[in-house]
């Protein structure tokens, strides 16, 4: 009888161990399921500004034709105007190329990146760098920690255009 009791006790201990094991498996499975659920249910983050928008903007901006001309052409593009401004040239009608550049860029930026009201864009900054030194800056709105930017090299005179949109 003693032997039987011993065996029952031993079996009971085995049962307890099995229960603990089963519990552990359940916990493990639950954790895996939770992780899986968290990943699958996570909503894709909607970006306020897409990278392609910034790239497209700089690309289109540089191709924009201005009303400033020189001996080569009656209408310079912004790309050509940036280079002419760096060389201190004037338009055919004696306007300063840098002034024309500044006013055209400000107008385009104002229309392209509206920051008033509840718009997602909080601010923007456009920098023209020559030989890694900032030559011109046009900035409006607030500078925030969330931003997207893109730099385009003009190839000539080590000139670069850097645009940053803050949201």
């Amino acid at each position: 009888m003693k032997d039987v009791n011993k065996m029952i006790l031993k079996k009971s201990k085995f049962g307890q161990e099995e229960m603990i094991g089963f519990g552990l498996i359940i916990v493990l499975v639950a954790v895996i399921l939770l992780v899986f659920l968290a990943f699958s249910l996570r909503n894709p983050v909607k970006e306020n500004v897409e990278s392609y928008e910034i790239e497209g903007f700089i690309s289109a901006l540089l191709q924009h034709t201005t009303d400033c001309g020189n001996y080569r052409t009656f209408h310079l593009s912004i790309r050509e105007l940036i280079i002419d401004c760096g060389q201190g040239e004037v338009c055919l009608d004696n306007r300063d190329t840098c002034e024309v550049l500044n006013s055209t860029l400000s107008g385009i930026l104002e229309q392209g990146w509206k920051i008033s009201g509840n718009r997602p864009i909080k601010g923007y900054q456009l920098k023209i760098l020559r030989n890694d030194v900032v030559d011109q800056v046009i900035q409006k709105g607030n500078v925030t920690t969330s931003y997207k930017s893109h730099m385009q090299d003009l190839g000539k005179s080590s000139t670069q255009v850097l645009f940053t949109a803050y949201y």
Binding site: M1, D3, V4, I8, K11, F22, I26, L33, L37, S40, L41, P44, E50, Y52, E53, G56, F57, S59, A60, L61, L62, Q63, H64, T65, T73, F74, H75, S77, T104, G107, I108, Q111, G112
Partner: protein, 204 residues
């Protein structure tokens, strides 16, 4: 002597019977335990199956509840992809006619495309494709062949179906055309916004 031997035999027999009895009792107990164990296992299997079935149902319910939103997100992604590549597609791009830069749209090509849009209506799967000059800022004037030639418009509506519920996807492009001044031709490019809205019912 014989009587003693008999007594001893009797006792041995009693002992044998006692031993066999406890063995049977143990076997019976073991058998009951095994039955209990099988029962326990069956219940456990049922519980595990039920647990996974419930979890599966829960996941499926959540997944299917967001199906419409997923479709809408896919539509938006399609529109986003379309808007990034549309400006550089052969039907839109400036090609060698202008400086051959990226994101450059040939206005003349677009106007011709607009005239024959019936053949292209379902080509991109978009419900709306619109190009609007953003600078200088002017009130909206939709282009037709006459106003485009006179330069008296700022919006080209290529495809315009009334579909609501989706935000347009934008990209900046350069809308170029050939202009004449005193007989001299030059390239006039203006910054514009290309907007695309995807047709949810047809493609997504």
């Amino acid at each position: 002597m014989q009587a003693m031997v008999n007594k001893m035999r009797g006792k041995k027999g009693q002992l044998k019977t006692k031993k066999t009895g406890s063995f049977l009792a143990f076997n019976c107990l073991k058998s009951k335990k095994a039955q209990l164990k099988i029962q326990q296992m069956a219940f456990m299997l049922m519980a595990v199956t039920l647990f996974f079935a419930l979890v599966g149902m829960f996941v499926l319910a959540i997944k299917f509840s967001g199906l419409k939103e997923t479709a809408a997100t896919l539509c938006e992604e399609n529109a986003m992809m379309l808007v990034t590549k549309l400006a550089n597609s052969p039907e839109f791009s400036c090609g060698e006619a202008f400086d051959g830069e990226t994101n450059c749209i040939d206005g003349d090509k677009i106007m011709m495309l607009k005239e024959n849009i019936d053949a292209y209506e379902d080509f991109w799967g978009a419900s709306n494709i619109e190009i609007r000059k953003i600078y200088p800022a002017e009130a909206e004037k939709v282009c037709d062949i006459g106003t485009y030639q006179g330069g008296d418009c700022n919006t080209i509506r290529l495809i315009s179906k009334n579909v609501s519920g989706f935000d347009d996807k934008y990209n900046f492009v350069s809308l170029c055309r050939k202009e004449y001044i005193d007989g001299d031709m030059y390239d006039k490019c203006e910054i514009a916004r290309l907007s695309v809205r995807y047709n949810y019912n047809e493609r997504c």
